[in-house]
Symmetry: C2
Subunit: 327 residues, 2 copies
Amino acid sequence: MVVVSSDLFAIIEDDLALVEEELRRIVENASGLVPVVYRHTLDAGGKRIRPALVLLTAKALGCSNSRLPRLAAATEMVHLASLIHDDVVDGADRRRGRAAANAAWGTRVSVLVGDSLVARIYAELSRYGELETLTALSTAVERMCKAELRHMQVQMVGETLSEAGYYDVVRGKTGSLMAACCEIGARVAEATSMEREALICYGLGVGTTFQITDDLLDMVGDPEKLGKPVGNDLVTGKFALPIIYALHESKNGVRELLTELLQSGEISPSVLRDIVAVVDDLGGVDYTRNAAARFADEARTHLDVLPDSPCKDTLNALPDYVLQRVA
Amino acid sequence: MVVVSSDLFAIIEDDLALVEEELRRIVENASGLVPVVYRHTLDAGGKRIRPALVLLTAKALGCSNSRLPRLAAATEMVHLASLIHDDVVDGADRRRGRAAANAAWGTRVSVLVGDSLVARIYAELSRYGELETLTALSTAVERMCKAELRHMQVQMVGETLSEAGYYDVVRGKTGSLMAACCEIGARVAEATSMEREALICYGLGVGTTFQITDDLLDMVGDPEKLGKPVGNDLVTGKFALPIIYALHESKNGVRELLTELLQSGEISPSVLRDIVAVVDDLGGVDYTRNAAARFADEARTHLDVLPDSPCKDTLNALPDYVLQRVA
């Protein structure tokens, strides 16, 4: 069991261990390929940020309801199922240092296992009468798909997102599920609607920060540390903020050079180096870091609704933890 | 709007029109590719058997709750989403006389649109507090995926299902959703648990009959009438009852011939003709027709719990309608 639980979440270590038990229990009774593919994805680890958001928001509001680990696990299951489908969508070969499920078992298996996991979570939640969590999660999934499709559609017609359009996409892709996690925590804790709205905004901001840095890492990250190759978004033509900014800032000659590099099809390590050099030169990397930091700052402001507590401190530290990946 | 509503469902024509309105309303507010792909699939028609099962079972029990069209539409949405994903899984090019969604927009779009539709149905149902329908549908989807994966896994390791194993697969693949439709109708009508169980068995039987005949049509059907090419299951190696029976019945020389034909990879029209001839000669086609008829008969026996009514008559006629496709 390779769970990359950072010290950041030390304060909810015991609860996260319960979540881990839930995650494994959920597929225990499944047969065939479902538990195999699922465990492959689960064992690859991950930071369990989504369950942590459920736990931290609820506990920061003084709630330690016994339903929390189950609901927190459901958010991670939805996330894992979305990763399995994302890898089909992106044709990715690697994920967290291992073969991606679609590379290991093929598209067909990945599509069905993803569907099956989501169905199992919804079946469990509905059996337990968890209507609010069902609404929050399914609404988030719909937004995630919409954002993915939007990014893909722009790329299919050979266009580039505007900066505002890009923020919409990252907000939908990653912000909506993290916002749902905070909403779930707030609802279990019977938060006031003001507290709930603030925590939803916080989750949205953390998710947006996370996706912006994730997209930047796809350009400037270390493949060894990431456990997957970089430059994948460049190959699929799903341009992120560094490129969007650089294309916007570039003048004649440089713009043509950059466009030409981006259309190389196969992005070799040397082409990637060239692209990063041009983009960095135009200020795209710094601009992206600053944008992420702005979303992180904004996210933190919403925590003012919470009383002081160690859980609030952890929520406060989370955006910096996310930013630090691209420091 | 090309809805192939058969005369069979004349008695619930008005209700099915409301279901159709629901189906269109559900994606009205969606943007981007979701409504486009969805309408493409919706406009291809279909018999709307699943919504009809919800309506007929409820009405046969004297219920005409205003929630019925919404719940009936949800079952068809789940079905349509599963068709979109199935076509990715099978790599199908045609569906109901039109390009399959994955052939028209690619795997990536199909995966996301399918996910998005399911999420939207669950979000709607949970907002309306329809817990029982959520449980029934998500449990059915899990069983459908499990059955698909089982069939696929057997084929991946180069094995052939036993006859009993095949029935398990078709029961899961198609029976479980039709059973869920009957369960939903029974629950809305506040049926007794005996009535509910009987109707679930009926739905399971109708679905099993349907899938057995559907698989047979993939061998002996008319591509023009089906709106898709035949022989697809043979190409993907997902063998159905005619082949399973024929392989079991065949002796030395014929078995080798049949095995060789099945492994031709590309199944050309002439190879398909040869396969059908051998299988028919061994009694595989008749055996399959008879098996389907047995499931149809068995399904009908469960309707004894219902009082006499025109809706009961329609439920009684449905298995024959299904069988008649391969008469």
